[in-house]
Amino acid sequence: MNVLYFAWVRERIGVPREQVDSQAKTVTDLVEELKAREPRYEAAFADLSALRVAVDQQLTDFDAPLDGAREVAFFPPMTGG
């Protein structure tokens, strides 16, 4: 699936998007897989309460299932307007 990062999450991980092969069942599972990879993921996902997630461009929770998901995005709370 495509994994996207925005704002300081993007800066900490160092790329705006990447293709990830994963069998993760939920967003939390995916986060754990990523954190196990490299310290930069560990740093970006250190405090999940400071993050938001969208699956297929819909805001959702970290316990959301990933069955059939094509795009998962991680970012800080939004500051538009």
């Binding site: 925005f6 993007r10 461009q57 819909q58 709370p77 939004m78 500051t79 307007g81």
Partner: protein, 147 residues
């Protein structure tokens, strides 16, 4: 309904004027315009806005549809810029038209409250001293509770 997400500046005067014209069925038009504020220190050089192409348009359309479902609205307009802006530049605007002023006001406030915390935009302030991401305010999240 019109939803615009663009990098280039928009013309508030032309947009407001076009939105309010020919509305003999709507007695009330409300607009909100967001403007890049200089920091207290007065040293903001650039406000940079990042967004999530695709999701942004979907989120704004969803917010506008919710407003049209809750209030008696003849029309809704949302324009939001991304990219680099200077202090005093217009960031975004919403406009609502209704037969009733209360509906026009409430819907515009609802749009702003949701747009602030639920549309995927992120602001970064560039100053002489460096750059930092704007933190979300608790009061913006709390503002959603009233709807």
């Amino acid at each position: 309904m019109r939803i615009v997400v663009q990098e280039q500046p928009f013309d508030l005067g032309a947009e407001a004027s076009a939105f309010a014209s020919g509305r003999s069925d709507m007695g009330a038009v409300v607009t909100f315009t967001g403007i890049v504020r200089d920091l207290a220190q007065g040293d903001l050089d650039v406000m940079e806005i990042e967004h999530y192409p695709g999701m942004t348009e979907a989120a704004l359309t969803d917010i506008a549809n919710q407003a049209q479902g809750r209030w008696d609205l003849g029309d809704v307009l949302i324009i939001h810029r991304y990219g680099r802006m200077a202090p005093g530049d217009l960031i975004m605007m919403v406009a609502t038209a209704s037969p009733h002023r209360k509906d026009a006001f409430e819907a515009a406030e609802f749009l702003m409250d949701y747009l602030k915390s639920r549309a995927p935009f992120w602001k970064k302030e560039h100053t002489r001293g460096g750059a930092s991401w704007v933190a979300a305010k608790d009061e913006d999240e709390e503002a959603l509770d009233r709807w």
